[in-house]
């Protein structure tokens, strides 16, 4: 297939000096823009769609929540577009709608992320509303109470949702006492405790220039973007005040917890120790995981669990490299009557892969898939902005897009075998929710 290239130029204070790394019909240029005030953004110029997409992130998500107040970061993201500066919530929301400005905030364990989508002709208004949301959020009591009620309604729904129970139980058991053990959106106990002061303190500590990463895709040039970056983000504090998050060591490895719930399917969630994003073997692990349970209709788990036996609609595994813990996760939802058989198949496929490794043919196919599917992550401005942001968060370098497929190619069969052993020969922590016939927990479920 035709190769797929991004090339990189560096633009400092609206001065553009480009280095084209690769000639290609579809080469896309990534510019490193440094604003006059020193804020960096990665920019891809795209003029064929009248849309500006800006994605950004600050370090410090739910891992910054106070121990007894899980959900602060999540509530904050819901309140950032709920009134700012001179605009109360209603006025702010009306302007967003009138100018069709899409402003979204979200939180994960390690980051607060945001995205702005705006029509080019209304970009000034979009950037201005974003500036207000980040630098002058009102965080008023009335809006907090309204949002809190919404979050609590969602949390009540989660209490009887088997997927949520499986996930919460898994994290709580794997990381007791660590921020990773606490749910990102909080709990029915913690959310009522959160005050406006908690929200303000979190926003003040986290929304700062030194951890900010920005990606922009649209019909805008570096000279125009530089001053905009200063306008939008420039008033934020220079330095974040993050509470250090200790390394998280996974607990309860080898344990199996069954939570009783009267539902037709049993939800299985498995997790074990994985590889860090910076681990030299990460790419090998990525390929090996694809062979076991990655996203295609030909993984080992898909073939054995779904295709041959019809035990489940979906079955998956994935790597989850967090800042302070590296994990590999797997799961499915299967008929309660046949849950034991399904779990046994998943575990034996893992052990088999650990013992024998993949075949050379499987390795070749997985590499071909992963390389070939990469361009599908870059076919819209919105997706490109998302990719550029994640590459910055993972600190992979501005030329990563051009190197990535060669890194996959470099994975040898010996690498794959070694990493398969590393990933899948150990024990997992398993949570099962439902009425799984024949699965007995190693302890009473919670």
């Amino acid at each position: 297939m035709r190769r797929f290239f991004f090339y990189v130029v560096v633009t400092a204070a609206a001065f553009a000096a480009g280095v084209m790394l690769a000639p290609a019909a579809h080469a896309t240029k990534i510019e490193r823009v440094i604003s006059p005030g020193g804020i960096e953004a990665w920019l891809v110029r795209e003029s064929s769609v009248p849309l500006i997409a800006m994605d950004f992130a600050f370090k410090g998500g739910a891992d910054q929540d106070p121990a007894d107040k899980a959900g602060v970061s999540h509530l904050t993201t819901a309140l950032l577009d709920d009134g700012a500066g001179d605009l109360d919530s209603a006025k702010f929301q009306r302007l967003l709608e009138e100018y069709a400005v899409e402003l979204r905030f979200s939180t994960s364990r390690g980051h607060l992320r945001g995205s702005l989508r705006v029509l080019k002709e209304r970009q000034e208004r979009g950037f201005d509303l974003l500036r207000l949301a980040l630098t002058a959020p009102r965080f008023e009591t009335q809006e907090l109470e309204r949002t809190r009620a919404q979050v609590l309604a969602g949390l009540r729904r989660e209490t009887t949702n088997p997927n949520q129970i499986a996930s919460r139980t898994w994290w709580k058991t794997a990381f007791p006492g660590h921020p990773y053990g606490r749910p990102t959106n909080g709990s029915l106990d913690s959310v009522p405790q959160i005050t406006v002061d908690d929200i303000k303190a979190y926003a003040r500590r986290v929304l700062a220039c030194d951890t900010l990463k920005v990606a922009v895709v649209g019909d805008i040039d570096a000279a125009t973007l530089g001053p905009i970056l200063d306008r939008v983000f420039g008033a934020l504090p220079a330095k974040a005040e993050l509470n250090p998050v200790p390394p998280a060591t996974m607990q309860a490895i080898g344990r199996r917890i069954v939570v009783d719930l009267d539902v037709p399917q049993a939800v299985l969630a498995l997790g074990g120790v994985g590889l860090a994003r910076k681990d030299p073997d990460f790419m090998a692990a990525f390929v090996v995981n694809h062979i076991l349970g990655g996203g295609s209709f030909s993984s080992r788990l898909y073939t054995e669990v779904r295709e041959k036996r019809g035990l489940a609609y979906g079955v998956y595994s994935y790597l989850l490299p967090l800042d302070r813990a590296a994990l590999v996760m797997a799961g499915t939802a299967t008929n309660g009557e046949r849950a034991a058989e399904t779990l046994q198949i998943i575990e034996s496929e893992m052990r088999k892969l650990a013992a024998e490794g993949p075949t050379a043919a499987e390795l070749a196919k997985a590499k071909a898939f992963l390389k070939g599917s990469y361009p599908l992550r870059f076919d819209t401005s919105t997706k490109i902005a998302g990719q550029l942001l994640e590459i910055q968060i993972d600190d992979l370098g501005i030329d990563y897009i051009n190197k990535r497929n060669a890194m996959i190619d470099a994975v040898t069969l010996a690498d794959a075998k070694r990493v398969a052993k590393r990933l899948f020969s150990g024990e997992f922590l398993t949570t099962v929710v439902g009425r799984p016939k024949g699965i007995v927990g190693t302890e009473p479920g919670g």
Binding site: M1, R2, F4, H26, V49, P50, L51, A53, S89, A90, Q93, R94, E97, E98, A100, R117, L119, R146, Q150, L152, A153, G154, R157, E158, T159, T160, N161, L261, D262, V263, P264, Q265, G295, S296, F297, S298, R306, E307, K308, G310, L311, Y313, G314, Y316, A333, N335, K365, A368, F369, L370, K371, G372, S373, P375, L376, F378, D379, T380, S381, T382
Partner: protein, 459 residues
């Protein structure tokens, strides 16, 4: 997600295409407009080409004008089951060969079924289009099924039914659809009723396949880094060789009688931890509405329940503080009369009855006094902007045109959607509310906790 009429059969591309299909958003389209072309092959296959030269990838879709509403009585779920079985191979390309070929290229593939259509798609680098067409054309008429592959797949579908259909909210939605439609097959779940799915056979699937899978009942949509001429040439060389194998007559499903009485459903389940209510109205679809009416309903849904500035949110969540959330949706894309839905989640201490009265008061207000010029303008701006945002995504555009051509709309109607939305007047919105938000044409559903059965279990 508001609407769950369409089903996807696996979770690849969930974030873009599949999720969007599940949402069944109204077929908005594009102001500046992608440069779309449309033509027909001599065997009746319709073709839509949506050029998008930004990245060297393509989205290839084949849509059949058949869905759950076209199933024979007693065979609910066969359209969706067949969708699964379409991955089981042909004489020329035995089971797994197509999927393996796509995986070898790093392509993505999936399929989906709704009440009105069934679709199959792949996304790959541009140069594989011919290969995709060869495979897809081959399975248009060449499917081979054995009991050995059919039986496990039926279990997969039953697990899918468990996964999608067993939550209390999903159970309520199924009961409400069945109550909304007194006569029309839209009242059946797309995935089928479980007792009927269990009895579906290889022969049922093949009979349905032979009757509906034929080029003269299909639409090919190709979006991405291609030209119309390339697509025409390749389509002619692949799909063009398939002879029509069934006569296709207009889809005339049993229609709704005059609806005379509001219906009410209360679904009690021990797993309901948060009560909520839904209201469905039977309203015209894009295909059955008088000119301007569907567009007015689109605007009405947005003004009533589209986000934080909507009437329902302002009145119920902000001002009266009786609800945690409230919203409205209109599912325009359907061949026959469709659904306008409202939903609300009460604040603790507020009964569903009180919430329902508050919702009715908001609707009553719109019927009595109409909407303001300001509201109308904001809603139009927002809806039109959504169409421009969609230009960013070739897969979304491909889906819109596919939905349009399989639900009685046309390329032209998609292309002039923004003009039609712009032409909506405040009077038309008020008239649409007055005519169609008539409780006699509605079903209201309460989702409540079943405390009785919980007590039973303890004793």
């Amino acid at each position: 997600m508001p609407i769950h009429r369409a089903l996807t059969f696996a979770t690849l591309l969930a974030a873009t295409l599949a999720a969007a299909t599940l949402t069944a958003a109204p077929p908005a389209a594009a102001t500046p407009g992608p440069n779309v072309s449309y033509f027909k092959l001599s065997n009746g296959l319709e073709v839509v080409v949506i050029p998008d030269r930004r990245a060297p990838v393509i989205t290839h879709m084949v849509w059949y004008k058949v869905g759950a509403a076209d199933e024979p009585p007693g065979k609910s779920g066969i359209a969706h089951f067949l969708e699964h079985l379409m991955f089981k191979g042909t004489k020329k390309n035995p089971a797994g060969k197509f999927s393996k070929a796509i995986a070898a290229l790093g392509g993505h593939e999936n399929a989906f079924t709704s009440v009105d259509y069934t679709g199959y798609f792949q996304r790959t680098a541009r140069e594989h289009l011919k290969m995709l067409m060869e495979f897809e054309a081959d399975r248009m008429t060449g499917l081979v099924l054995t009991d050995a592959v059919v039986r496990p797949e039926l279990n997969v579908v039953l697990e899918e039914e468990n996964q999608r259909g067993s939550s209390p909210a999903a159970k309520l939605a199924k009961q409400m659809d069945a109550a909304l439609y007194l006569n029309h097959p839209y009242g059946k779940p797309v995935i089928g009723w479980r007792h009927e799915i269990e009895k579906l056979t290889r022969e049922d699937a093949l009979a349905f396949y032979r009757r509906f899978y034929t080029p003269n009942n299909a639409v090919l949509v190709v979006a991405g880094d291609v030209t119309t001429e390339e697509v025409r040439k390749l389509a002619q060389a692949t799909y063009g060789k398939i002879k029509p194998r069934a006569k296709i007559t207009p889809r005339k499903r049993p229609q709704e009688p005059e609806q005379l009485a509001p219906r009410f459903i209360e679904l009690a389940d021990p797993r309901v931890a948060q009560p909520s209510l839904q209201r469905y109205y039977l309203v015209p679809s894009g295909a059955t509405a008088k000119p301007g009416e569907a567009e007015a309903l689109d605007v009405l849904a947005h003004i009533l329940g589209g986000g934080a500035t909507s009437r329902l949110h302002r009145a119920l969540v902000v001002e009266r503080s009786v609800a945690v959330s409230a919203g409205a949706w209109y599912s325009e894309a359907a061949l026959d009369a469709t659904r306008f839905s409202l939903s609300g989640t009460p604040k603790p201490g507020v009964s569903l009855r009180e919430l329902e009265q508050a919702i009715d008061a908001v609707i009553g207000e719109v019927i009595a006094r109409g909407v303001t010029a300001d509201e109308l303008k904001r809603a139009q701006n927002r809806l039109i902007a959504d169409a421009v945002f969609a230009l960013d995504n070739q897969a979304t555009l491909a889906r819109w045109y596919g939905v349009a051509l399989t639900t009685g709309s046309s390329v032209e109607r998609v292309n002039n959607w923004t003009d039609r939305i712009r032409a909506v007047t405040a009077e038309a919105v008020q008239q649409a509310a007055r005519t169609w938000l008539d409780k006699r044409r509605s079903v209201t559903g309460y989702l409540v906790k079943d405390t009785a059965s919980e007590t039973d279990k303890r004793s």
